[in-house]
């Protein structure tokens, strides 16, 4: 057993290691002859080339099978997510805190909104068409340029008081801030089942407490002619319809918890795991 218990000194170990790396007697480099190393390297090279090829082939055939216009499944996208602008996230979700007397605190919120709305200027929307019908804009054919489908125009002026045109500060300094609610795009999703879905904002947990809100466009609806969405390839210029909400009677210096839900058939907002499905919750605190 003595052989197994030999305690090697450090220098012996180093020496052993050196012999392992290059053994001059047997001409072994790391336990193999050089030619052996070449062979084994070539084998592995070939092996990995083949494996890479197989992988590439698999991905290639995968790409051949997927539809370029719409995904095969929308298992996770049963109900659209809802987002809010300006979006400032704190530790526990959206937290919009500002001080009316300190310009800096709200200016960045205003900037966010302005930046966000640049995508909705008439110039940005010039490729889209004006739609008027209050029905789903169903297109079975590709009528747009370059084999695309048409998208409806949504410009920021539709948000009226919250468009940032009349009031570039979106009512923030007055304590009557505008927020923009956006519904996530889902391909071939028909919200509301024929009725336009609308935004409804309340205090969290206390829906009876009156919250004075102005909705733009009127009634806070998303017009049906923006739906369905046909995907990026079919509608490259599509932009989400928006609803702006302007809170009129907010108590100052108190943290308010507000939820804006989208009411409409096919849109659920009771998923306990997903706080942004069909609704958006946020905390708002206006100090002065």
């Amino acid at each position: 057993m003595a052989t197994l218990n030999e305690k090697k000194t450090c220098s012996e170990r180093m020496e052993n290691f050196r012999r392992f790396v290059w053994n001059p007697e047997t001409k072994l480099f790391m336990g193999r002859t050089l030619i052996n190393w070449v062979w084994i390297s070539l084998y592995y090279l070939a092996f990995y080339v083949v494996m890479t090829g197989l992988f590439a082939l698999s991905i290639y055939s995968l790409m051949r099978t997927v539809n370029p216009y719409e995904p095969d499944y929308q298992d996770q996208l049963k109900s659209p997510g809802v987002t809010l602008r300006p979006d400032v996230y704190g530790d526990r979700g959206l937290q919009i805190y500002y001080n009316t007397s300190e310009n800096k605190t709200w200016e960045r919120l205003v900037t966010t909104l302005q930046t966000f709305l640049t995508a909705y200027t008439p110039a940005a929307q010039h490729l889209n068409i004006n739609c008027t019908g209050d029905k789903y804009f169903i297109q079975d054919t590709f009528d747009g340029p370059n084999n695309t489908k048409l998208s409806c125009k949504f410009t920021s002026d539709m948000l009226q008081n919250c468009s940032g045109i009349a009031d570039p500060t979106f009512g923030f300094p007055e304590g009557k801030p505008c927020f923009i609610i956006k519904m996530n795009r889902i391909i071939k999703f028909y919200p509301g089942n024929g009725t336009a879905p609308r935004v409804d904002c309340t205090y969290v947990g206390d829906e009876s407490r009156p919250l004075e809100v102005d909705y733009y466009p009127a009634n806070g609806t998303f017009n049906l002619h923006y739906f369905p969405y046909y995907g990026k390839k079919a509608q490259p210029t599509y932009s989400n319809p928006l609803v702006a909400v302007k809170f009129l009677n907010l108590t100052r210096n108190v943290e308010l918890k507000i939820v804006c839900k989208i009411i409409g058939a096919g849109i659920t907002f009771d998923n306990v795991h997903d706080p942004y499905e069909g609704k958006v919750e946020f905390k708002l605190k206006i100090e002065d």
């Binding site: 197994l4 084994i40 790409m63 969405y229």
Partner: protein, 1033 residues
């Protein structure tokens, strides 16, 4: 000569002590054993410090404050008992249970997992302090990792404890009683309560309860074999016969047995202070060596831990330099560690070993230490006892000589008839003598037992003769009753014969029949005629010559020969009423008629020759070590094949060539019979020479202590040595051996304590089945490990690609744990049930330095080939799932930061759809599940290919090992349950997967199978080729 003998003890007892010192090199050891004999002798004497044998009875009374007639008073005895402690051997210090338990908690991979857990908690702490949104993930992960360690630790501990418990129940003894004189009364006391100064009485059959100085003895004989290895009982008297306490006749030693007679003595040493107690404590000083499998597992753990740590650190550095946050890098590190460590493997190994242990227990090998299961498989030398292990441990009639002819008798275990020619009238006469001149009797009430199994009262030879007669003639007791015994002279060592006079069973024949048996030469001396074919013929020199030849031939076979003669006393001289007097011997005891010879031997067990030849083809050297006479030892060795029919010893060659022994070239002799006396005078180099140069070795007349020297000699050759033993004095050798095997029936408790394994049937053949199981488990563990290691790559690659390509995490840490500890456990245990691919008993024992459990080929083939195929398969599934849900592979690259950002709830996919964080997370979990399922599916293929290492699966049979299928179904079943049953429990990160995703990796599973079949085919086709060397693990 006697004086010299004490040298043996002193050297060897101290020789053991040497082992405790660090082994500073052979040089010094040689010197120690050779040169310092004298000093050692002094040491021992000092140590033994016994002069009680020199003292007279009255001096003894004075010394121990006792009275020979009255004994100690109870109160005095109680005082001494309180001072000295009970009269029992302290069991070897067992490792405290808590230490064993903690060892399981920190051994092996546990350390790595603890590190992972601690990192998890640290990152939780940091995140919590920073107030991040969901820091509890890391807390849970840490808890889960800790739980994994603790649970696998508890499991391993439980397995260990279970196998130890078998032994514990085994070693429980019935408390021994001793007859003590105390307060002038005889009392039965438990032997444990004996104290120094007690007067005890012993009688035949008792175990000596302590070291005792005899004061009076009547025909007392003790069997000292457990102490000195001398198998002949030695007489004991109250005379001081030798200076050396071990030699003198007036001391009887603890744990030896009194064979016959009675004696009274004073207890002079109790418990650990007895001679046996000292030897036993020396035995516990012999360090336990690590078992070969423990070394292999350690090697494997180092290997995997090395890979885990180096990849972990490498990617920690990469992720830090890729500007990941330190915290994230730590989390990656945890993932890499968890992915690399096969959490379930050590538990699996334990289970596999204990399954084998169970299987071995069924075949009468009880394994005390789980790891010893494999040690037996790597054994290259077995040092076996003769008596009881190789032989049946009972005298049996082997040959007969009558009518000038030698007949062989059946010596198998379950003889019912004897095949030799029984028609001669000489046989009738001989059988009558055998039947009548015999004092042995069956214990009553055994009529239903086979004759060979019946218990007999009487000594070994007489028992053999009784059974022999019973088999051939039928009811011996009736025959004896019909031939009433009228006088008898029992055997004694001066006469060397036994005689009895009987009436005949023929009512018309009024003559008395005198029958006699004894040492053949003595019997012949008393004969003037010899019976040939039933006729008395004068015993002339020619016939005497024939007798001599037969006697020599039988004796040369190592058999104990007895001569038989008879005489019909003339009716006129010895009428019915003749008063036979055995003291004055008023009847003729010479000029008798010689009838025949019977020779007896303790025959080899019938399974042994086959087992020995199996050992031989398995490359295992079998060395016989016995206390018996060299001739007998050699005869048995020849008959069981330890010395093969064609090989010769130096002495044989000398005899054949008619030259002196010294002129024989020692290299020509393949066999050697070494006498214990020669061994004593040998230097270690000489011993090494013998062990090296002879393939067939018998050590005869060896003391158990010399066994230790032999074992060490074998170990110096680099062999893995298995040693069998039963006596207390074997325990140092048993401990020193790589695997000590104690006899379950004949073994002493000390031997069983020191051994790693107990042979329940004392049969050598059981060792061989054990070897077979041990080799099989080594092969199967290789398969298990290869199976388990493969998927580690498929678990690790996701992390590496996640870090480098910033794709969404393909597999979660918890999911990995579900593979390692869920789906993979039963299949990897199932591989332990795999049958051997070829005759594993036809190859040499593995070289413990070269044939590693986990060798380079195994690791490389699993990690870099099959593991890679698995990873590719799993990634294809992963990309398929993401692509079909909206994220094409091109979109996924580099997406990690935004993907994981809680503040982005309108994350755009390849089709322009927008996803909230939770929707993305759910998709990510679907990805985990898909990845998990792919690994599982490919592990099924991996499991199938691991069934064999060389043969095609079709050669091995896909369905022969049913447990594999249990494994496969359990694997799939667990995966189904996790996905569809627990898919809604968000904490587990599983989702109900679309059914078709189960099949994405199937082509890759098939590829694995085909690739491995090709590998095996090429290995079989081109043995020794570059491919064989690099691809065979």
């Amino acid at each position: 000569m006697v004086k010299k003998k004490s040298d043996i003890y002193s050297v060897e007892i101290n020789g053991i002590k040497d082992l405790e010192k660090t082994e500073t090199g052979d040089e010094e050891k040689y010197k120690d054993l050779k040169g310092n004999k004298k000093k050692k002798n002094e040491d021992l004497k000092k140590e033994l410090d016994l002069d009680d044998h020199r003292l007279s009875a009255s001096e003894l009374e004075e010394k121990y404050g006792t009275s020979i007639n009255k004994g100690l008073s109870s109160s005095r005895a109680a005082e001494i008992l309180a001072r000295d402690g009970p009269n029992s051997l302290t069991p070897p210090k067992a490792t405290p249970e808590i230490v064993k338990f903690l060892k399981q908690m920190v051994g092996g991979f546990s350390i790595l997992l603890w590190i992972g857990a601690v990192f998890s908690w640290i990152s939780f702490g940091i995140q919590y302090a920073q107030g991040a949104e969901s820091p509890f993930d890391n807390l849970y992960l840490g808890v889960v990792l800790a739980l994994v360690v603790i649970l696998t630790g508890i499991f391993a501990y439980y397995q260990e404890a279970k196998s130890t418990n078998i032994m514990a129940s085994f070693s429980k003894m019935i408390p021994q009683q001793a007859l003590v004189i105390r307060d002038a009364e005889k009392k039965e006391l438990p032997a444990e309560q004996l104290v120094v100064g007690d007067i005890v009485e012993i009688k035949g059959g008792d175990r000596i309860p302590a070291d005792i100085r005899l004061i009076s003895a009547q025909g007392c004989k003790v069997d000292n074999s457990s102490l000195t290895g001398e198998s002949e009982p030695q007489s004991r008297s109250c005379d001081f016969t030798h200076e050396n306490p071990l030699e003198t006749k007036n001391i009887a030693f603890y744990s030896t047995t009194c064979v016959e007679g009675t004696a009274t003595g004073i207890v002079i040493n109790t418990g650990d202070r007895t001679v046996i107690g000292r030897i036993a404590s020396l035995a516990s000083g012999v360090g336990n060596e690590k078992t070969p499998i423990a070394i292999e597992i350690e090697h494997f753990v180092y290997l995997v831990a090395g890979v885990a740590i180096s990849i972990g650190v490498l990617f920690f550095i990469i992720s830090v330099s890729m500007r990941y946050k330190i915290l994230d890098s730590i989390i990656f590190l945890i993932g890499i560690i968890v992915a690399n460590v096969p959490e379930g493997l050590l538990a699996t190994v334990t289970v596999s070993l204990s399954l084998t242990a169970k299987r071995m227990a069924k075949k009468n090998c009880l394994v005390k230490n789980l790891e010893a299961v494999e040690t037996l498989g790597s054994t290259s030398i077995i040092c076996s006892d003769k008596t009881g292990t190789l032989t049946q441990n009972r005298m049996t009639v082997a040959h007969l000589w009558f009518d000038n002819q030698i007949y062989s008798a059946d010596t198998s275990e379950d003889q019912t008839t004897q095949p030799f020619d029984q028609s001669s009238p000489s046989w009738t006469a001989l059988s009558k003598i055998v039947t009548l001149c015999n004092r042995a009797e069956f214990r009553p009430g055994q009529e239903n037992l086979p004759i060979m199994k019946r218990v007999v009262v009487g000594d070994a030879s007489e028992t053999a003769l009784l059974k022999f007669a019973e088999v051939i003639l039928g009811d011996v007791m009736t025959i004896r009753a019909q031939n009433k015994k009228v006088a008898e002279i029992p055997f004694n060592s001066t006469n060397k014969f036994q005689l009895s006079i009987h009436e005949t069973d023929d009512p018309n024949d009024k003559r008395f029949l005198l029958v006699m048996k004894g040492a053949p030469e003595r019997i012949l001396e008393r004969c003037s005629t010899i019976m040939i074919n039933g006729k008395e013929e004068p015993l002339d020199s020619e016939k005497a010559e024939a007798f001599q030849t037969a006697y020599m031939e039988l004796g040369g076979m190592g058999e104990r020969v007895l001569g038989f003669c008879h005489l019909y006393l003339p009716e006129n001289e010895f009428p019915d009423t003749y008063p036979f007097d055995t003291d004055s011997m008023n009847f003729p005891t010479s000029n008798l008629c010689f009838v025949g010879l019977l020779s007896m031997i303790d025959p080899p067990r019938s399974t042994v020759p086959d087992a020995v030849s199996k050992c031989r083809s398995a490359g295992i050297k079998v060395i016989m070590v016995t206390g018996d006479h060299p001739i007998t030892a050699k005869a048995i060795a020849k008959s069981v094949g330890i010395i093969s029919a064609t090989s010769e010893t130096v002495e044989d060659i000398a005899k054949r060539l008619n030259i002196p022994v010294e002129q024989v070239n020692r290299r020509d002799a393949t066999a050697a019979v070494v006498n214990g006396m020669e061994l004593k005078d040998m230097s270690l180099q000489q011993l090494d020479d013998i062990l090296c140069n002879h393939s067939e070795i018998v050590f005869a007349r060896t003391s158990p202590q010399q066994k230790l020297i032999i074992v060490e000699g074998c170990q110096r050759q680099g062999a893995v040595v298995a040693v069998t033993g039963d006596g207390v004095n074997d325990s140092p050798a048993l401990k020193k051996a790589d695997i000590g095997i104690a006899m379950g029936i004949a073994g002493s408790d000390a031997a069983k304590n020191a051994a790693d394994m107990v042979l329940l049937d004392d049969n050598f053949a059981s060792i061989v089945t054990g070897v077979e199981e041990g080799r099989l488990i080594f092969d199967n563990l290789k398969k298990t490990i290869a199976y388990t290691l493969t998927k580690n790559i498929a678990e690790l690659c996701p992390f590496l690609i996640y870090i480098i390509a910033s794709i969404p995490m393909p597999i979660g840490t918890i999911t990995i744990l579900f593979i390692d500890l869920g789906t993979d456990i039963i299949p990897s245990v199932a591989l332990a049930y795999e049958k051997a691919e070829s005759d594993i008993m036809n190859r040499r024992p593995r070289n413990k330095k070269k044939d590693r459990l986990v060798n380079e080929q195994l690791a490389v083939y699993s990690y870099l080939q099959i593991g890679i195929i698995q990873s590719v398969g799993a990634f294809v599934t992963y990309f398929t799932v993401y692509a079909q849900q909206g994220f094409l592979p091109s979109t996924l690259l580099g997406v990690r930061v935004n993907w994981e950002n809680n503040a982005i709830n309108d994350f755009e996919d390849s089709y322009g759809q927008q996803w909230t964080k939770y929707q993305r997370m759910y998709l990510q979990w679907t990805g985990y599940t898909a990845f998990f399922v792919s690994i599982t599916v490919q592990q099924v293929a991996d499991l199938i290919i691991r069934k064999t290492r060389r043969n095609s699966i079709f050669q091995q049979g896909l369905f022969r090992n049913k447990v594999i299928w249990v494994g496969i179904f359990s694997q799939i079943g667990i995966a189904l349950i996790l996905s569809y049953g627990l898919g809604h429990v968000t904490a587990l990160n599983f989702t109900p997967l679309r059914f078709q995703y189960w099949f994405v990796a199937v082509p890759f599973a098939i590829l694995i199978w085909v690739y491995d079949e090709v590998r095996k085919l090429l290995i079989r086709r081109y043995p020794g080729s570059w491919w064989d060397k690099n691809m065979y693990y």
